[in-house]
């Protein structure tokens, strides 16, 4: 058995201290240790993007990062996107996905959302090619991407 390593991370504003195996993936840490199963695993090879979370505000693939590498950092997962309080209030991106039918089976959705948060921050008025390029690191097998592109446009249009 490997020696357990103590780590401390802030996830969705909540501080967690845990001892983890050095080779534990961040995706497994979030899903199994913290029960944050909204972060999905589609390939574990860094290809599909379903496992994307924010690490200090940047989108990263949690299947390519070890939990120990997140030590001392701030994470946001899809569960932390909507305003706290547990009501039905949504982040503007979530609302736009809902409105523009940017999801079908929903398995890819959290990953897309987490990539789009920093993308829209940096490109508040993206063109369609820019959107398509930004999404191209993610796989969706259901929608053909069009609903997702429409959702991004909607979110960008409604952004202040």
């Amino acid at each position: 058995m490997d020696q357990q390593v103590p780590i401390g991370v802030t996830v969705n504003g909540v501080r967690h201290e845990r001892a983890v195996e050095p080779r534990l993936l961040l995706s497994d840490f979030l899903r199994h240790e913290l029960g944050l199963t909204g972060t999905h695993v589609g390939c574990e090879h860094g290809v599909c993007g379903a496992c994307t979370v924010l690490l200090d505000g940047d989108a990263v693939r949690s299947c390519l990062i070890l939990a120990v590498q997140a030590d001392g950092h701030e994470l946001v997962t899809v569960e932390g996107l909507a305003p706290p309080g547990g009501g039905d209030e949504l982040h503007p991106l979530q609302a736009a996905f809902r409105e523009a039918h940017g999801l079908q089976c929903g398995f890819c959705t959290p990953g897309f959302l987490m990539t789009l948060v920093p993308f829209l921050r940096e490109h508040p008025h993206p063109s369609e090619p820019e959107i398509r390029e930004a999404l191209s690191g993610h796989l969706c097998r259901c929608t053909g991407y069009q609903g997702i592109v429409a959702a991004v446009r909607l979110a960008a249009g409604s952004a202040p």
């Binding site: 899903r31 029960g35 944050l36 199963t37 909204g38 972060t39 999905h40 695993v41 589609g42 390939c43 574990e44 090879h45 290809v47 599909c48 379903a50 997962t77 899809v78 569960e79 996107l81 909507a82 039905d88 949504l90 979530q94 996905f97 809902r98 409105e99 039918h101 999801l103 079908q104 089976c105 929903g106 398995f107 890819c108 959705t109 959290p110 959302l113 369609e128 959107i131 398509r132 390029e133 999404l135 191209s136 690191g137 993610h138 796989l139 969706c140 097998r141 259901c142 929608t143 053909g144 991407y145 069009q146 609903g147 997702i148 592109v149």
Partner: protein, 734 residues
């Protein structure tokens, strides 16, 4: 209306199978055959693992017959001394730690005395390769209409061609997974699936349990596309066997590599056309041979072949048709259900062949289709009289108009004259897709649906049909709400739990909205009749009537039921493959525009128009999403998705080396619907889910042919393939 479960999916609250909280459970994994064929002489457990910490299951632990029951019973749950394909399950292991389990699986050696496998379905088997019947044919089917030999002999022109398609991986984003546990003698199996009652029947059979001791529950399913039609039964059996032996819950979730290597894919196909025509392009005779690669067990191949040959002659009128189909046994992982179910393969061949004919006869590909498209009163290959009143030429015309087809052709010709490094082209495909089970299939399924009136006045719809992204929950809600005059929130949809819901059949074959939706309407009517209220009573007064009924009948249940009834005037002769193959067909024409890069031979789809007549469109946004998703999956199959096999094993079984389209690979898909309500579908709907995957491959390859002058006959048309057949005199131009 918003997608019903959308909020849960958007906030990360939806629990897919791997997300369910589970206490004190074991992970399960599968030890598989390393070779395609042979006798298992030993199973060796490596010395450096403490096996006492593992639950180990092999075929001797199966309480009932060692058979995954489906159409036939030839497939074992776990190989018993003999393996017929690479990755065939041999031993199951259960353990607390997934990592420990991975190491243990690698420490088990399945020793096989190899025998000669069949790896190419197109090559006739040698005697020592025969493993099924006398000739390795898993199923043969034939359609005959008129006198093909005579018509071919008399035809002024005969055009022949052969066409091939490769395997395609589903790539549902959520891999396969199943959990099993024992709850007071009842085996409960929960997981990602399309057909809870298929899983139930497989469990009952191999585990020798009656229905009261098995319960199957579908979890939110992250995509299926047919890939979760039959295979989940295997995983359910594996998880159940481990759980029964361990006495604890067991979870099996495949990782992507295992999922891609070991589960089903679209059947590879080989199709030969011999077509007799008049000089101006009227079809006189269609002679077809359709061959599919079935893999090592029968599974669903006979029905895939059936749908394949029924669609093979295309949506055209021809008096003399012969279609001979067969599925071949090979020592490959069994091929299985995949959106379209045989039709995409044969429609690719048909619609590519139409362009080959047009080129040979030097006539316009649009005209060739226009003059041959089925008119009302004419018959399909099985002799089904088409009389639905749809104007199929209008569907074609609309697609030409929306794609600006004529102007684009001229513009491309001018572009190609002046550009040395690229070629542009536009191509089309006209096609159809039969909705629901083939022939007598729906009668045989005998689907049942229940709608319960709840004490608070709401209703609950109980079916075994599942949500996998296509929108079942939303559409079912709409159908019941509309029928009863209810608000959507007053309609609950029951979880697909065989302990509670009646068997409304599998979620496949574009049948859910059309067939099951119609049953929901009838069950709503039945519910209303039990209340003895006027048919005009809807909405709030109907809710009040339900509440009143419950007050007067304390502790009783208020339900409305419906059982499938065959629409009038439909008949099917299964022995001769004659008659009404489907209650309804959806009709479509798709147009693709491409640009081919002559330096890299890569093809980019730059425009796509999808026009279809699918009866009444119940939810346009969902329908549009289905079409867009299906088209993109079809573009992937046409150009990039290639399963590479070595010695019967898929060698590119990761998303790093099996590529599917990203948002950057595809253009916006322009979708349009023409509506001609179908009287026997819910609110007039026909099936839609599969249709969109039939058209893209032929439309895209026809566009490449138009762009380059090349004559591609196989998908996927990868750059390597296009380079190999390229004869466009370009190397000099570079």
């Amino acid at each position: 209306m918003h997608r019903r479960e959308g909020l849960a999916k958007l906030t990360g609250r939806e629990r897919y199978v791997d997300d369910l909280p589970l206490d004190d459970f074991l992970w399960g994994m599968t030890v598989r055959s390393p070779v395609p064929r042979g006798r298992v002489t030993a199973v060796r457990f490596g010395a450096d693992v403490d096996w006492s910490a593992f639950v180990i299951v092999d075929h001797r632990d199966i309480p009932g017959p060692n058979e995954v029951i489906l159409i036939e019973r030839d497939q074992p749950v776990l190989a018993a001394g003999y393996v017929r394909h690479v990755h065939e399950p041999v031993v199951l292991l259960g353990h607390r730690s997934r990592e420990g389990l991975r190491r243990a699986v690698r420490a088990v050696e399945v020793v096989v005395a190899p025998e000669p496998p069949v790896l190419d379905f197109r090559v006739p088997p040698r005697p020592d390769q025969i493993q099924y019947g006398r000739d390795n044919v898993l199923k043969r089917l034939k359609i005959e209409k008129g006198d093909v030999e005579r018509a071919l002999a008399q035809a002024p022109v005969v055009v022949s061609g052969t066409y091939e398609t490769g395997a395609q991986e589903h790539v549902y984003l959520e891999t396969q997974g199943m959990i099993a546990w024992l709850e007071d003698q009842v085996l409960v199996v929960k997981g990602s699936m399309q057909c809870p009652y298929y899983v139930l029947s497989a469990l009952k059979h191999a585990l020798a349990r009656d229905e009261s001791r098995v319960r199957v529950i579908q979890t939110p399913t992250g995509g299926g596309f047919g890939g979760k039609e039959e295979y989940p039964s295997d995983i359910a059996l594996h998880a159940a066997l481990l759980a029964l032996k361990a006495g604890r819950p067991v979870k099996i979730v495949y990782d992507r590599g295992e999922d891609m290597a070991a589960t089903t894919k679209r059947h590879p196909s080989w199709v030969r056309h011999r077509t007799g025509l008049t000089r101006d392009g009227r079809l006189l005779a269609q002679d077809l041979e359709v061959v599919l690669d079935g893999g090592a067990y029968v599974t669903l191949s006979p029905v895939v072949l059936s749908r394949g040959i029924i669609h093979a002659a295309g949506p055209y009128s021809c008096d003399n048709v012969r279609i001979a189909g067969r599925v071949m046994f090979t020592n490959a992982v069994p091929f299985g259900a995949f959106r379209g179910f045989g039709a995409p393969q044969t429609l690719f061949a048909c619609e590519r062949h139409m362009d080959v004919i047009a080129r040979t006869l030097e006539i316009d590909p649009v005209e060739l289709r226009r003059i041959n498209l089925l008119r009302d009163g004419q018959t399909t290959a099985t002799g089904q009289v088409i009389r639905d009143g749809t104007d199929r030429v209008a569907v074609l015309e609309r697609a030409l108009e929306l794609s600006d087809y004529r102007a684009k052709r001229r513009a491309h010709a001018a572009f190609n004259e002046t550009h040395a490094a690229q070629r542009r082209g536009i191509g089309l495909a006209a096609f159809y897709h039969g909705a629901g089970f083939t022939g007598g299939g729906e009668v045989h399924l005998n689907s049942r649906v229940r709608v319960a009136g709840l004490a608070d006045g709401r209703v609950e719809v109980l079916t075994a049909n599942i949500e996998m992204g296509q929108g079942t929950l939303t559409v079912f809600t709409q159908i019941a709400a509309e029928r009863l005059g209810f608000a959507p929130q007053d309609v609950a949809i029951a979880e697909a739990d065989t302990g509670r819901v009646p068997n409304s059949g599998p979620t496949v074959a574009s049948r859910t909205t059309m067939v099951v939706g119609r049953l929901i309407e009838r069950a709503c009517d039945d519910l209303r009749s039990r209340l003895e209220v006027d048919a005009a009573v809807r909405g709030a007064s109907l809710r009040a009537a339900i509440v009143r009924w419950h007050r007067e009948h304390a502790a009783e249940r208020l339900v409305g039921d419906a059982v499938y009834e065959r629409p009038p005037g439909i008949s099917w002769d299964d022995a001769n493959y004659r008659g009404d193959a489907y209650g309804a067909f959806a009709w479509a024409t798709y147009v693709a525009e491409v640009e081919v890069d002559l330096a890299t031979y890569s093809t980019r789809v730059t425009g796509f128009v999808a026009v279809q007549e699918v009866g009444k469109v119940l939810n346009e946004t969902l329908a549009r999403g289905q079409v867009q998703g299906g088209v993109v999956q079809g573009i992937g199959w046409a150009l990039m998705e290639e399963c590479k096999f070595r010695d019967g094993a898929m060698i590119n079984n990761q998303l790093t080396n099996y590529l599917i389209p990203t948002s950057d690979d595809v253009p916006p898909i322009h979708v349009a619907f023409l509506e001609n309500p179908y009287p026997h579908g819910a609110q007039g709907a026909k099936g839609l889910g599969e249709l969109p995957i039939d058209g893209p491959a032929p439309a895209v390859l026809n566009a490449v042919a138009a762009a380059t002058g090349a004559d591609p006959r196989a998908v996927p048309l990868t750059p390597e393939r296009l380079m190999a057949i390229a004869d466009f005199g370009l190397r000099s131009a570079e």
